[in-house]
Symmetry: none
Subunit: 184 residues, 2 copies
DNA sequence: ACGTTATGAATGAAGG
DNA sequence: CCTTCATTCATAACGT
């Protein structure tokens, strides 16, 4: 109903936002695929919290592909890092949880368990802040998965539903919370 | 034109989608009625933004009814809250437009309207501060500039950008354009 | 079969 | 850094 549907983004018409006209609504930055790819590549190269000058340089380079501002780069890294952690935490938790001990899948997983501890704790203090000096991008033909795609693959793992009942009543809030959940 | 969007399906194929008995198809989570009921119940009880722990507990409980992950619960609450608000806003707009003569309630409500942010008109003309573009003065000796400070430097408002040099979305097939990020 | 709706998922932008 | 809000994309579900 309320679909704006055909409004279509198309940036702000080539001029940016506040140019000349009246109150042109400055829509939010919509990164192009190339921009995303470069950013993702930088992230994968180990760059997590770029400094101000790095941000500006990245932004400058990326501006070739489309309108972009420094703050977009800044936000991108912040969000990407935060969500990477967030997702990882959630996935690991719900993987280890709610799986029956005698489930053969878990058995296999334990048997195959890779050195997960390598990536276990991205301790920031020990983060080497390793940025490769000459980073060749543009694979020209390689299509390697981005973080998002990887996350999707990881999280789409379907596990056996089973588990057991286990009372939910925690301290959600002090309010009434008279929930009688219909389990049992 | 949609080539920019690469939202291909996950398509579980043969990997990891061990649906436990139900005809559950991988892809996106489809909550069962019981799950929806519990979630709705929790929402009605006042829970709006569950913490991580709560999300995990809820997810664990709900996994009894079917496949579910923590992030599903997370998204569910996010969406539910957002859409609740969205509808509400739409209704309020609607009611301010169509006033029934015999409806005292709406009249009173309009009169009493605290207007949290009704007049949130982004008046740009009154902007007192002008951000200057030349900001890379001193990259030196600023140890650990706070993120907020960083943002202050990076933000450039919605002013005209000098990068509207080329047409947008016209031809994405542009040449390789070797971008080598050796600038960091 | 196809258009519409409902809703899961994602992410840019802030705030604290 | 963490959470939260708003907007949007994508798709299962549904009605015609």
């Amino acid at each position: 109903m309320d679909e704006a549907m055909s409004g279509f983004v198309i940036k702000a018409g080539g001029g940016g936002c506040g140019n000349g006209g009246g109150g042109t609504k400055c829509g939010r930055w919509n990164p192009t695929t190339e921009q995303v790819k470069v950013l993702t590549d930088l992230f994968r190269s180990g760059l997590r919290t770029p400094s101000t000058d790095q941000i500006q340089k990245i932004s400058s380079q990326l501006s070739f592909y489309g309108k972009i501002e420094s703050k977009n780069v800044f936000y991108w890294f912040q969000n990407h890092k935060a969500r990477e952690r967030q997702k990882r935490r959630r996935v690991s938790v719900d993987e280890s949880d709610a799986v029956r001990p005698d489930d053969k899948i878990s058995f296999i997983k334990r048997a195959l368990a890779p050195s997960l501890s390598d990536f276990a704790e991205p301790n920031q203090a020990s983060e080497p802040e390793r940025v490769i000096e000459t980073l060749q991008l543009f694979p020209l033909n390689s299509f390697h998965e981005s973080e998002t795609e990887k996350m999707r693959l990881l999280t789409s793992e379907c596990k056996e539903t089973a588990s057991f009942t286990y009372t939910i009543e925690t301290e959600m809030d002090h309010p009434p919370l008279d929930l009688r959940l219909s389990f049992l």
